[in-house]
Symmetry: C2
Subunit: 239 residues, 2 copies
């Protein structure tokens, strides 16, 4: 029996595959916390949720598994990577180590265009509210995008594609914890100030100060979550 798939002969040549589209969506849902840590990613549920067949869904999950955003066990299926205080500590520590290198290199290589990009990114970020709601914390995709761009502008001058890619991956992993921290600390933490100080130190080429501020910036997420006494929903950790 011939089954009609999506017979859409639109003029545009076939863009991204379904697998890629689903990958993007699941990834976003994990990072933003829509899909909770530890949540089981069963075939049938995902098929409905993302309106796709099993194959592309599984391909997406396999990619995510390689990035450690998803865990899997052979024959047992997939689930969202868990979170935990130990994992958080390792993540922050690793980010401090890695991003310190990227920061030092970026500053060392910094030129006028680099400065301009940072100033621009900061300016754009400062115009967007931290939370989508003014009452309480709510994920704001615009802010997140600009925040990522700001830090990317600072570290992106390190000259190593690999380093940049790994920083991005770690940042994505950290995003899940950051959402938690934001919901705890909102609206008391003034990230704008932290960013401004960091920017100034970078532009002034004050390497040691920039590194110290950067470490503090990263450590804050950990401090907020740990101080809150909120116990993380311990689940399977990817690594």
């Amino acid at each position: 029996m011939p089954v009609k798939q999506k017979s859409s002969n639109d003029s545009r040549a076939g863009g991204p595959t379904i697998a890629t589209a689903v990958y993007d969506q699941i990834r976003r849902d994990i990072i933003t916390g829509v899909l909770a840590p530890g949540h089981k990613l069963g075939s049938t549920g995902l098929r409905e949720r993302y309106n796709a067949g099993i194959s592309p869904v599984r391909e997406a999950l396999n990619r995510l598994a390689a990035e450690n955003l998803v865990c899997f066990e052979d024959q047992k299926g997939f689930h969202v990577a868990g979170v935990g205080s130990e994992d958080l500590a390792d993540l922050i520590k690793t980010r401090c180590w890695i991003e310190e290198i990227a920061l030092r290199e970026s500053i060392a290589n910094g030129d006028d265009a680099w400065e301009d990009a940072i100033v621009l990114a900061f300016h754009r970020l400062s115009k967007v509210p931290r939370s989508a709601s003014s009452d309480s914390y709510e994920f704001n995709p615009d802010w997140e995008k600009l925040h990522h761009a700001f830090h990317g502008a600072i570290l992106g001058n390190c000259g190593s594609p690999r380093m940049i890619a790994y920083c991005d991956l770690l940042a994505d992993q950290a995003n899940r914890y950051r959402q938690l921290a934001a919901s705890i600390s909102y609206p008391n933490r003034s990230e704008g100030d932290e960013h401004q100080e960091l920017m100034n130190a970078a532009i002034e080429r004050d390497v040691e100060k920039a590194v110290a501020l950067h470490h503090a910036h990263l450590g804050k997420t950990n401090n907020i979550i740990m101080k809150s006494g909120l116990s993380l929903p311990e689940g399977q950790i990817a690594l």
Copy 2:
């Protein structure tokens, strides 16, 4: 639909999935150079080669793509990640940065058990020939495994699962270049000496010396390939 529940064979719980098995095989074939950089990874070819259906093969490829050992373009399929002098330079540079951190931490945390493990790993490595053939260089899986274990023993004490995992990934990526370097320099390079010096410095907790030796060890691959004037088969680079 009636479901068949009679499983013919049993007594043994279903081990790794076919997808995982194929993943392991393709990965090894890429790292050892059996599958050349840039080589097209077409469905039909892989299906035959690894004797599996399309689904598991594609799942394996998706995992490898996320590790940057394989590249893909939507609707165009997969191919082995390319190599190139630029990529090699970035890889070596990144490894120097990252592994320096792991090395310093490992030494700082080092205790007797750590020393013992290094000595043991070195001893085992030294008993196995570099090349499977004495005439010319030939990939020797035993040596490779023990070599990996030796460096793992040194860096594995850094206390960060993420750091260790990333070091491993970088080492795997570098393996393809190392095979090339080995075939060029064999039998003139005495890696045994390099390893011994590194081991001694580590055990003596001579941090700066160990770091210097480690950098030199990593840089050697680059030097060998670059000095040989051998042009790398430029292909698509993963990153």
